[in-house]
Each structure stands twice: as structure tokens, then as C-alpha cells.
């Protein structure tokens, strides 16, 4: 339906292009006046005016229509005597009504449902018809308005450019809308979560076992259940596991990445650079699910085998395997950023160092790196934020159980793993378990935001220093 409408609007408004063009030509001949713009701009003017208001209207309407119809239907069903205790049951009934309307429901149909389905199709009809009428009115109104403008010989090019500029601005606002969407969707569920679980219990609790908290109705639980609930959402093991794996990753990535960055920037001939730089950057282009597969099926069992042969118990989902592979994934982030940073250290600093007799490595260690340090730290921080936000490697290769440990051979879990585990499969909205995933997401979002902010500030400050 909507596609047909969009298609019709587009066809209609593009045909107006030719009308506008020829109309203004004839006006200029008739009245013997000079047009204020080329005739084609009058055509564009009509096209924009006839399509944009109608399309915007259609978009807004389609966003709100399902929500409004749903609330109307649930209310009428309740008036007719349908009983539902909470939102989930209401949703279920609404889905049933929809399925009856579409003819895809094969269960028992009682009179309430039947009546509701009839009123559903009635409302759907009303809404569709009024949508078509209103779009029609919008188009007519905007076409009349723009035709009047054209007949008065407006400055069409400038007007068209103004509209397009508005369009450009709106496109750039989508980034802000996305951010707002992220913040609201995370906050909305997190607030619900923190209304059940005290934020301090969450931040400082040392026990994470959300599977215990599968409680249907969070408002009517007993004190004992509540204590258990409070105890189930402790964030400490997750942040410990996350930082631990990120630490292992950094332990691998920082030396390798930094040294390759230094080598590329200071030693490598342009030929070696040309070959090895893209190959290292392949590492950044490989999907993380591939690393996860490699860590889980090759590296994990390999470590386990080695451990067995020297008499150590190594979990097949060890933090070591996940951290090592994650570290390798991160190498290119550190190497190419520190390569850039080192390259932008002014040559005069190096020349000064050589002039007093330092070798190349001494120059690098004592002059170049200290000069580039803020930038290098920035790149490491960016890499850390990648590491804590990385999902697939840890989901596939690190464990699921949250245990507080600093033994890299045991399994630990991370924030991202828990988000995936909680939200995969059957989920009940409005249970603290599901909401806890959003609280974890919010924590993750805030943490990466802070890290990125500091890192970007550091890199920017550093750049300004030598520009």
C-alpha cells in the first residue's frame, strides 16, 4: 500500500517537472517578462513542493498508525470483556486479532476476538482511507501554493537551493537522531531495570547470574525473591572479565602494533611499506566472527592440548585464547595510528638528535616517542575501547559463566557476551533479566564514549602542537 502511494507520488511530482518548465516558458512569452530563473528550476520547484510534504506526511503517518490502532483495539477488546493482566497478554491478544484479520490464525476464536477482529479491519479501513484523502489534500494544497509562486515569477533557483539546503541539513541531523535513539532506547529500559535493582547493588555486586531472575511480574515479588534478585545482578565479575580479556589483548597488541608502527615509519623502505602495510590492515578487515571461529575451534583446543601435555588444566574457553586473538585483531589499529602519529613528528627533532651523535634507535626512544606520546596513548585508548566493545570473539571463545578470576587459563565472561546471551532466544520484555542487557549496553556505551573522548582529545591536542 505504502509503496504504491510512494510510487504514485513520485510519478505525479516528476511529471509536474515538465508542466512547470513549459508553463513558465509560456508565462514569460505571454506577459513578455524575463524569468527570474531558468525554466527547469521552476520544474524542480514544483517537483520538490509536490513530493516532500506528502512523503513526510506519509512517513509520520506510517510511524504512528500501528501504535494508535493497537491502543484503540486493545481498549475496545477490554471494553468487550477481554481480560489481560499485563502488557504481554495484551500484546498476545492484539497479535491474535491481527492474525484473525489476515486469516492466518488457526486456534479457537471466541466472540470477543471475532468482534475485535472485525473492528480491527474497520479501523484499518478508516485509517487507510483517511491516509489517502489526507495525502491527496496535502499534495493539492502544496501544488496550489507552489503554482501560485511560480506564476508570480519567484526566484525559483534560490528557492530550490534553499529547499535542498534544508534537505542537506536534515541528512546531517540523522547522526544526532541516531545518537538520541541510542541514548533513549538504552536509558528507557535501564531506568526500568534500576527501579527494581538498586544501582549500587548493580555496580558493586560480585555475583552475576541473571538466569535466576526470570520473574514474570517484578512488582509483586516476595522479600526473599527480591533479595535473590538483588544478588543476581552484580556488575563486578563482568567488568573484571572484560578488563582482563582486554588487558591480555593489549598485552599482545601494544608491543606488536607499536613496534610495527615504528618500523614502518622509521626504518622500512618504501617497498616493504607498500607491501606490508596493506597486509597488516587485512587483519582489521577480517570480520570478527572469523576470528571468533578461529579462536574457538583452533586456538582454544590448541592451548588445551598444550596445557594437558604439561599438566595444566586449561578451559577450552579460556580467557587467554580470546584475549590473544582479540589482540591480533587490534594490532592494525595501533600500528597504523602510531605510524601516522610518528610520521607527523617534525624532522627537525630527529635531525637535532642525530646532530649530537645519537643512533637511530636512541633518537626514536628518547626523542620521537616522547614527542609522539600523547598521540600513541590516544591510539592505545581507541584500541582499548575497541577491545571492550568487541563481541563475536568473546561470545564464541570466552566463557558464559561469570567467575571472578585472574587465571588466564580459566574461562571468564564479558559485558558483550552477557548482552548476547540474555537477548538471544526467548526473551520476555519487562523482565529484569532482559532489562539488565540494556543496562549493560548503557554501561558499555558510556565507557566507550569516555575512552573515545579522551583519546580524540589527546590525538587532537597532539596534532595541534606540531601543525
Amino acid at each position: 500500500m505504502n509503496f504504491v502511494l510512494i510510487f504514485l507520488i513520485v510519478i505525479f511530482s516528476s511529471s509536474l517537472f515538465f508542466y512547470g518548465k513549459s508553463k513558465t516558458k509560456s508565462i514569460s512569452i505571454e506577459r513578455n517578462i524575463k524569468l527570474n530563473a531558468l525554466p527547469k528550476f521552476y520544474g524542480y520547484y514544483l517537483v520538490l513542493w509536490s513530493s516532500i510534504p506528502a512523503l513526510v506526511f506519509l512517513l509520520v503517518w506510517s510511524l504512528f498508525e500501528p501504535v494508535i490502532i493497537k491502543s484503540i483495539i486493545i481498549e475496545t477488546a477490554a471494553n468487550q470483556g477481554a481480560i489481560f493482566n499485563d502488557k504481554n497478554e495484551a500484546n498476545l491478544i492484539y497479535e491474535k486479532i491481527k492474525a484473525i484479520h489476515l486469516g492466518t490464525y488457526f486456534g479457537d476464536i471466541d466472540t470477543i476476538l471475532k468482534e475485535s477482529a472485525i473492528s480491527y479491519s474497520k479501523f484499518l479501513n478508516i485509517f487507510t482511507n483517511s491516509k489517502i484523502v489526507l495525502i491527496f489534500v496535502t499534495i493539492i494544497a502544496s501544488v496550489i501554493f507552489s503554482l501560485k509562486k511560480i506564476k508570480n515569477n519567484n526566484k525559483a533557483r534560490e528557492d530550490v537551493e534553499k529547499i535542498l539546503k534544508g534537505l542537506l541539513f536534515v541528512s546531517s541531523l540523522i547522526a544526532i537522531l541516531t545518537t538520541l535513539g541510542i541514548i533513549f532506547s538504552l536509558l528507557f529500559e535501564s531506568i526500568k531495570f534500576f527501579s527494581v535493582i538498586n544501582i549500587f547493588d548493580y555496580l558493586f555486586g560480585t555475583n552475576w547470574s541473571p538466569q535466576r531472575a526470570f520473574i514474570r511480574d517484578a512488582s509483586a515479588i516476595t522479600a526473599a525473591e527480591y533479595d535473590e534478585l538483588r544478588d543476581a545482578f552484580g556488575f563486578v565479575p563482568l567488568i573484571a572479565g572484560t578488563s582482563f580479556i582486554a588487558f591480555i589483548a593489549m598485552f599482545v597488541a601494544v608491543p606488536i602494533g607499536l613496534f610495527s608502527g615504528i618500523y614502518m615509519a622509521e626504518y622500512a623502505s618504501s617497498k616493504i611499506r607498500r607491501i606490508s602495510k596493506p597486509i597488516i590492515e587485512i587483519l582489521a578487515g577480517i570480520p570478527t566472527v572469523v576470528y571468533g571461529f578461529f579462536a574457538a575451534l583452533t586456538v582454544g583446543p590448541f592451548f588445551r592440548q598444550i596445557g594437558e601435555s604439561i599438566g595444566l588444566t586449561v578451559s577450552s574457553e579460556s580467557a587467554l585464547a580470546a584475549g590473544l586473538i582479540m589482540g591480533i585483531m587490534i594490532i592494525p589499529y595501533i600500528s597504523s595510528l602510531s605510524d601516522d602519529v610518528i610520521n607527523s613528528v617534525p624532522q627537525s627533532l630527529r635531525d637535532g638528535s642525530y646532530a649530537v651523535g645519537a643512533t637511530k634507535s636512541e633518537t626514536i626512544k628518547q626523542v620521537v616517542i616522547p614527542a609522539a606520546l600523547p598521540g600513541i596513548i590516544g591510539s592505545v585508548l581507541l584500541a582499548v575501547s575497541r577491545a571492550i566493545g568487541e563481541t563475536m570473539i568473546v561470545v564464541m571463545a570466552a566463557g558464559l559463566a561469570a567467575n571472578l578470576t585472574i587465571n588466564p587459563l580459566e574461562s571468564t565472561t564479558t559485558i558483550t557476551t552477557q548482552i548476547v546471551m540474555i537477548l538471544v532466544g526467548d526473551q520476555e520484555f519487562d523482565s529484569p533479566k532482559t532489562q539488565s542487557a540494556f543496562a549493560l549496553g548503557l554501561t558499555l556505551f558510556v565507557a566507550t564514549l569516555i575512552l573515545n573522548y579522551i583519546a580524540q582529545r589527546a590525538v587532537k591536542k597532539y596534532r595541534e602542537k606540531y601543525d
Partner: protein, 420 residues
């Protein structure tokens, strides 16, 4: 310490330092090699499948239809008895257990394969034909050498009797390897020998197309605005900071966003390429805007000034001159962004693309999987046959990524103007 000794020491330190750098690069390179080698050696066998040559006799007694029957009737009719008869003829089995073990050597879709052979010809009643029937996963893995046969029987998935049949078939040249058409044509399946990436390919294709249609125009328009028109003020600064931050937000957060806004609030259908495409578009948008802006910035001001000098408006100078010149950089940035989106897994898992979908989606609002999610799903399966399937899927995914990156590099090198 004398002067010479000190110098020697310093030069040794210099050499060591250089070696560290070289070693680090080599470590990274070696890892790329190990990874690629590991995936290819595991995955290449998945492009072939093991088939067993059997003789099918379309016994008129066992079948209800006649030669030249309409296609619908054939599709609906029962080929079960013929299938069982055929499979049992492959080797003499003495009792029911042995018969079951014999039948287990073949794929569960043997009946469909026989029916298909009949459909192709349609006058085979009373005739005998030789047909190659897909072997079960266990035999497939055994034949490819991925399965150790020297374990004790109770730790093997293949019984001694089945091994005997296999050896006998092998001796009589009844076992062959064919191109694995199922891997490309089928959707997901619980049986590794029938599982394919057809559904995941189509799902990924739809998702990426939707992502392209949404992200590309918005990203180009936004970067044109920010680079060419935006006044230097607080709002512009805010938008810029926002875009930089969004590019660094972990992808799983976009999954949560999609779950809450697209699925729970707007109620778009779960597990569909439509939702996946929108989610990936939101995620890719800032990652495309950044290279787009860079390529607009690389167009020298003289181009704009030249256009303005001959009387073009600001808009005309941008859209007629600057944007076409920046197009190679814009396009290659977009393709690289899309390549990243193609490999993205975590947000798609959250929007329910992990559902077990057998059918190949025909529209973007059918439930579906996608290539990286299929990798995740199969890597969690216990059957040995899925290991090679997973690796082969990764091979497909990586080759798409390589092609996309190659196109991006080519576009840039071939069409981009250098200004200095």
C-alpha cells in the same frame, strides 16, 4: 668501559631494536597466513560432496503413478518404498538393525533425489537407472578423511558394519565426489550434508542493498552539508563530535537500538533483512561520512572559486564541480563501509537473525539469516560436518570482502585526481 666497547654496545642495541620492529611485522604477517591457511584447508572440502552410486528400479508395484503422469501428481506421490528398496540393494543386510544402519549411510533427502530424477525423465516406470545419491554427513566426512576411523567403535559415529559397507562400496567404485550444489542452493538444515548458504547469501544481499540505499544518499548529503555549507557554529561542532563518536560506538549497541526502536516500538518484522539493513545503515552511516568528507576536502578550493568566478551559485559550484570530482573517493569509502557492514554479526544476532530458517527468503521481509550469522550458527553446532561448512562460508565471505575492497582500491586509483 672503553669508547669502542660503548659504541659496539650501542650499535648492538640499534640492531636489536630494528629486529624487534621487523619481528612484530613478521608476527602479524605470519598470523594472516596461518589464519587463511587454516580456513582454506578446513573449508575447501565443503565444495565437494560424497555421492553413492545406486541402481534405482522404478518398480510399478511400488509406485502409484504411471509414465507421463502430470507433474503435480508425481510431486504428491509417495516414493518412500522405492527409496527404501533402492537403498537396501546397495549391500546385503541381514536384520532390521543392519538395514537401518545401511539406510543411515544415505542422506535423509534420498527420496527427494530419486523423485527429482524421475521428474526429469518421467517415463521411467519399469526401468532401471543408475543414480548418484548424496551420502550422509558421517560417510561424507569419512570419505574426505576428516573423520578418524581407528577409534574404538563406541566412540565413533559410524559402526563397524557401516565401515564394512563403505569399504565394499569403495572397492566397487560406487563412491564418488561431486560438486556440492546443495551448499549454494539450500537454506540451513540440521543435516550437514543438506545445509547450504543459499538463504544466508540472499539474506546478506538484501541487507546490504537496503543498507546501501539508506546509508549512501544520507551520508553523501550529510557530508556535503558539513563540508561545504555548514556555518561554523555550535550546532555544526555538535554534529561533528556526534559523528566521530558514533563511528566508535560498539556495534552491539546498534543491535540494542534496533531491538528497542525498530522491533519493539515500530514493530517491524523480526529476523528480516529489512531490519538488518536499517540497523547496518545506521551503523555504517558515520563510517561512510568520514571518508566522504575527506574526499570532499581533498578537492582544492580553486575548483570552487573558479566556478564561482564565472557566475555559478554556491550550489552549482558544489554539485556541478566539487561533488563529481570527489566521487571516486566517496564511492570507495562507501564500498569499504559496506564491506564492514557485510561482515558485521553482533547486531544481527540481537535482532533475531539467529533463528533457524530453512527457506530461502524471497522478499526482504521474510525471516532470513546472513553469511556472518550463519558462520556463528554453524560454529556452535556439534556435528563434524559443520566445521568444513563454516570454513567454506568464511571463504565465501572473505572472497566477497576481497572483491569489494579491490573495487574500492581500483576506483580510487583509476579515477581519483591528484592535485599536487
Amino acid at each position: 668501559m672503553t669508547k669502542e666497547q660503548r659504541l659496539k654496545k650501542r650499535h648492538a642495541a640499534e640492531k636489536r631494536f630494528r629486529l624487534y620492529g621487523l619481528t612484530s611485522i613478521l608476527v602479524a604477517l605470519v598470523f594472516v597466513l596461518i589464519l587463511v591457511n587454516n580456513i582454506f584447508s578446513k573449508g575447501s572440502s565443503a565444495f565437494m560432496k560424497t555421492v553413492i552410486n545406486v541402481e534405482v528400479f522404478f518398480d510399478p508395484e511400488l509406485i502409484e503413478i504411471e509414465n507421463g503422469a502430470p507433474e503435480e501428481n508425481i510431486r504428491e506421490s509417495d516414493f518412500y518404498d522405492i527409496t527404501i528398496e533402492t537403498l537396501l540393494k546397495a549391500y546385503p543386510a541381514k536384520n532390521l538393525d543392519e538395514e537401518n544402519e545401511l539406510i543411515d549411510l544415505f542422506t535423509t533427502d534420498a527420496e527427494i533425489e530419486i523423485k527429482k530424477a524421475f521428474l526429469e525423465n518421467n517415463n521411467l516406470i519399469g526401468k532401471k537407472i543408475n543414480l548418484e545419491i548424496t551420502a550422509s554427513d558421517d560417510i561424507d566426512q569419512l570419505h574426505k578423511g576428516n573423520y578418524p576411523r581407528n577409534l574404538p567403535e563406541d566412540r565413533r559415529r559410524i559402526s563397524n558394519f557401516q565401515l564394512k559397507i563403505y569399504d565394499n562400496l569403495l572397492k566397487n567404485n560406487k563412491i564418488n565426489k561431486n560438486f556440492n550444489n546443495y551448499f549454494f542452493n539450500n537454506g540451513d538444515s540440521r543435516d550437514p550434508e543438506l545445509a547450504g548458504i543459499g538463504g544466508a547469501l540472499v539474506g546478506s544481499f538484501y541487507s546490504i542493498i537496503i543498507c546501501l540505499l539508506l546509508a549512501f544518499p544520507v551520508a553523501v548529503l550529510a557530508s556535503i552539508y558539513l563540508e561545504e555549507f555548514a556555518p561554523k557554529n555550535k550546532i555544526t561542532d555538535f554534529i561533528e563530535i556526534n559523528i566521530n563518536n558514533l563511528a566508535a560506538v560498539p556495534s552491539i549497541v546498534y543491535g540494542l537500538l534496533a531491538l528497542q526502536i525498530l522491533l519493539a516500538t515500530i514493530q517491524l518484522p523480526r529476523s528480516t533483512p529489512l531490519v538488518a539493513g536499517i540497523t547496518l545503515a545506521l551503523m555504517t552511516l558515520p563510517r561512510i561520512i568520514i571518508p566522504c568528507r575527506a574526499s570532499l576536502k581533498a578537492v582544492p578550493p580553486s575548483i570552487r572559486e573558479g566556478a564561482l568566478a564565472v557566475g555559478a551559485s554556491k550550489f552549482q559550484s558544489v554539485f556541478h564541480h566539487v561533488v563529481p570530482l570527489s566521487l571516486p573517493g566517496t564511492l570507495s569509502g562507501t564500498i569499504i563501509g559496506l564491506a564492514q557492514a557485510l561482515g558485521e554479526t553482533a547486531p544481527l544476532i540481537l535482532i533475531g537473525m539467529v533463528a533457524f530458517v530453512v527457506d530461502i527468503p524471497s522478499t526482504p521481509i521474510d525471516p532470513s539469516s546472513s553469511l556472518p550469522v550463519q558462520v556463528y550458527l554453524w560454529s556452535e553446532s556439534a556435528e563434524r560436518g559443520f566445521v568444513e561448512k563454516t570454513s567454506a562460508t568464511i571463504m565465501m565471505l572473505l572472497s566477497f570482502l576481497i572483491v569489494m575492497n579491490f573495487i574500492a582500491v581500483y576506483l580510487r586509483q583509476k579515477f581519483e585526481k591528484r592535485w599536487n
